[in-house]
């Protein structure tokens, strides 16, 4: 998988999201994603991660899943501005 693939999958589920994805090893299987979306408003960390995992579920689970590791950072636009 490419970082662009990961990003477009997340954006398909969260259309307003700003998503940046880094391939941390260059091997197409370890990614680091930062996702900024208003959909996270009022949601805890577990619910936020679940939204993203749901968008990528088949790419994460199963013996041939292309994603082996996915580190996530999430924020609402307001939280992101404060950083």
């Amino acid at each position: 998988m490419t970082p662009d693939d990961v990003r477009s999958r997340i954006q398909a589920a969260l259309p307003d999201a700003d998503v940046s994805v880094i391939d941390t090893t260059g091997g197409g299987d370890h990614f680091d994603a930062t996702v900024v979306s208003a959909a996270f408003s009022g949601k805890g960390a577990v619910e936020r991660h679940r939204l993203i995992y749901a968008a990528l579920n088949d790419a994460i689970t199963g013996p041939r899943a292309p994603i082996h590791a996915l580190a996530l950072t999430t924020a609402t636009p307001e939280e992101y501005q404060r950083k």
Partner: protein, 103 residues
Amino acid sequence: MTDELRKRIADTIARGRVMLFMKGNPAMPQCGFSASVVGILKQTGVPFDSYNILADQELREGLKEYSSWPTFPQLYVDGKLIGGADIVRDLHQKGELTKILAS
């Protein structure tokens, strides 16, 4: 998922107040993310139990569905999913993890 597996998962989560589902065991983690959570938990000094999901393929796959969480490690406190490696690290950095573990 069968009711039997669902019950076995619930029972396993209930084995410890602070329960870590990980790859390997605390003495020999088989994955960097599991190792990082073990390291953080040890820093807090709070005792925890762990379960090696690499040794139990059925529970490993079942727990992903049970908790709508497709990755490991997974940390539970009082039966509630606290999160994986990213969330545990964030909570630790914000100083909130010890409160959650102590509650």
